[in-house]
Symmetry: C2
Subunit: 339 residues, 2 copies
C-alpha cells in the first residue's frame, strides 16, 4: 500500500532547511512512502539542489504561494491566506491526494485551518491535540494539549474515546486505561467540569480508572490521561521548562572546574544514554485527533530528526486509520426498526 504524506514545507522556525532534509531521510527509510512537499517552489527546489538530490519519483513539489507566520492570529491565517502551504497541504488530504498532513507551523492556525478544511468526525464536537510522553512504565497519551482552552465534561469524554483509540493504535493495547487529570484522587476533588466528566466516563464502557494527579502523568498511572486544553498545555510546557532547567543545572555542575569536567568526561556515555531516553525529539509529533484525516503537528523548533519522527507518527496513524476507528466508535448504535 502506497502512503502519501503532504508535508507543509514552509512551517516551523526553520522552514525548508529542515523539512526538505527530513522528507528525504524519511523516504529513504520508508520505501512505501511518498511525500508531497508543499510550499514556495523556489525555496524547496533551492534546498533540493543544495542537498544535491537527484530526481526522486516518490517526492513531489506542490506549489503554494503564501506562508502562515508563526505568530499570525489563527483567524487571520484562515481568512486571508487562501494559498498558504498549510492550507494547500490540508486540501491535498481532503481531496484524497494525500493520506496525512504534517506541519511544524503555528499550532493555532493549523488547528483552525484543519478544522475548516477537514471538518470534525461525526459525534466529535472539537478536535484535540494529543501526544505521547515518557513515563516510568513506558509512555502515556495526554490530551488535550491546547486546542480547547474551555471544555465541558462531554468534551473530555470525547477526548477519552479518541485517546483510547490512539493508544490502541500506537501501543497495541487492547483496553488502555484512561485517567482524568485532577487536583486529587478523592471524589470530592476538582471543578464541575471534571466531576461531570467523571460521571460520563464511569458509564462510558472505556477502561476508566478514575482521577489521576499531575505526578501520575510521569509515574505512568494510566495509558491515556485526559484534561482540558488549558491545563494540558500548562502541564506540557511546564515539563519542557523543568527539563530544560535540569539539563542546564547538570551541565553547570559538570562544567564547574577541572575535576568536575573530568568526571563529566567519564560519565559522558551514561549521560548521553540518559539524554536519549528523555529526548523531546523522540516524542515530537502531536496528533490533531477528531478530524476527517490524519494531521500531525511537529514542534515549531523541530530539527531534521524531529520532523522525520513526526512523519513516522503520521505513517503509523495512517496505517491504523485512526479517523476511521473514531468514526466507528462514535457511531450511534443501530436503532431497532419499528416497521
Amino acid at each position: 500500500m502506497t502512503i502519501t504524506i503532504a508535508l507543509d514545507a514552509m512551517g516551523g522556525d526553520h522552514g525548508p532547511r529542515v523539512t526538505v532534509s527530513a522528507a528525504l531521510a524519511f523516504l529513504e527509510s520508508r520505501p512505501e512512502a511518498h511525500v508531497a512537499l508543499v510550499g514556495q517552489p523556489d525555496a524547496i527546489e533551492g534546498e533540493l539542489r543544495r542537498l544535491a538530490t537527484g530526481s526522486n519519483e516518490r517526492l513531489q513539489v506542490v506549489p503554494a504561494t503564501e506562508v502562515v507566520r508563526m505568530d499570525e492570529p489563527p483567524a487571520q491565517a484562515l481568512r486571508t491566506k487562501r494559498d498558504s502551504s498549510m492550507r494547500v497541504a490540508l486540501s491535498l488530504l481532503r481531496d484524497g491526494h494525500a493520506d496525512a498532513c504534517v506541519s511544524a507551523g503555528n499550532t493555532g492556525a493549523l488547528m483552525a485551518v484543519a478544522h475548516f478544511i477537514l471538518k470534525t468526525l461525526p459525534g466529535i464536537d472539537r478536535p484535540a491535540i494529543v501526544t505521547a510522553l515518557p513515563t516510568l512504565k513506558g509512555h502515556v497519551h495526554l490530551l488535550d494539549l491546547g486546542a480547547n482552552v474551555e471544555c465541558t465534561g462531554e468534551h473530555l469524554r470525547q477526548f477519552a474515546v479518541m485517546g483510547t483509540i490512539v493508544a490502541t493504535a500506537v501501543d497495541g493495547k487492547e483496553r488502555p486505561s484512561v485517567g482524568l487529570l485532577n487536583v486529587g484522587v478523592e471524589d470530592i476533588k476538582g471543578n464541575e467540569t471534571v466531576k461531570t466528566a467523571a460521571q460520563l466516563l464511569a458509564r462510558s464502557g472505556l477502561n476508566y480508572i478514575g482521577y489521576v494527579e499531575g505526578d501520575g502523568i510521569y509515574a505512568g498511572h494510566a495509558d491515556v490521561i485526559v484534561c482540558d486544553g488549558f491545563v494540558g498545555n500548562i502541564a506540557l510546557k511546564t515539563s519542557e521548562g523543568l527539563a530544560r532547567m535540569i539539563r542546564a543545572f547538570l551541565k553547570e555542575e559538570f562544567g564547574r572546574n577541572i575535576p568536575t569536567r573530568l568526571a563529566g568526561l567519564v560519565a559522558r556515555p551514561v549521560l548521553k544514554a540518559f539524554a536519549r531516553r528523555v529526548d523531546p525529539k523522540r516524542y515530537n509529533g502531536a496528533t490533531l485527533v477528531g478530524l476527517n484525516g490524519v494531521v500531525v503537528k511537529s514542534h515549531g523548533s523541530a530539527d531534521v530528526v524531529a520532523v522525520r519522527n513526526a512523519l513516522e507518527v503520521a505513517l503509523r496513524e495512517v496505517r491504523y486509520n485512526i479517523p476511521d476507528h473514531i468514526r466507528r466508535e462514535m457511531e450511534p448504535p443501530p436503532q431497532r426498526g419499528l416497521a
Copy 2:
C-alpha cells in the same frame, strides 16, 4: 523579639516521629524561637523521651486529643474534629499565643480549618497557597497551588497582590515582576478568566509583565506567577512527577553495568551537588496567604529536614509580617472628608 510557632505535631505521613525532631533541630539553630508542639501528649512525650531530650524552656506541649487524617474530607474535619491538633494549633495563633502555625497535615482540611478559625484579611476573598520554586535565574513564587479550583479574574488579581508582598518579603525585591500563567503570550490567548485578570492587572499598579507560558516558570520569566488553583496544582505535581522520573532514569543508567557504576562513582560529588540544587526539601513550606496570621503547610511526606525548613519559612514570614503588609495593601485609600 521572641517568636512562637505552633506546630501541628500530628500532621503529615509520619506525625511526631518527624515533627518533634524537626522542632528540636529548629530550636537549636534559632535561639529567639519558641515552639508549641500541639497534639497527643503521650505520642509527643514518648518521642521526646526516645530522643533523650532534657527539658527545654522554649518547647511547650499543648494537648489536642484528635488527629485529622490525611484523607479526611475537609468539611468533616471542620465539623467533627473540634479538638484536632491542627485546629488547636490554629487557635493558639488566633488567640495570640503563637505568631505562626505550621502543619504537614491534609491540605484541604488545613485550608478549611484555617479559613474558619483565622478568617481572611479585609479585601481578600479567598486565601491562596503559594510556594517558591527554583528557576534558571533564582526562584519564583507561584500561586494558587490548589486552594481554589475555580477562580475569577478578580481572585487572580488578589493573588498577584499577595504574591508581590511575599516576593518582597522573601527576596527583598522592591518591585517583583508578576506574570499571568497562560497557554500563549499573545493577547488573544487564554480563557475568559485569564483575559479579565490581565485587564485588572494592567491597571493594578503592580509590576505586571503580561502572560507567561508554562516553560516560563522554570526559565525565570517572572518573580511571581499567578494562576487558578487547579492549574497551579497540576503544574506543581506534574513537575514533582517529572523530577522523580528523571532521577529514576539517571539512577537506572548509572546502575546499568560495571563501567556505568564506576562512572557513577566518579561523577558522584557532581551528581550530589546537582541533587542539592533541585532538592524539594529546600523548597518545602508552602504558605497559606490571605489569612489573619502566618500559616505554613509542609509537604505531607516531609522528613525532619523538610519540616525544619517549613519552620524557617514561618519564622521569616512572621518577621516580615506578611499578613500586615497584605492588610495595608488592600486597605481602601482614605476617603476625602465632606465635612
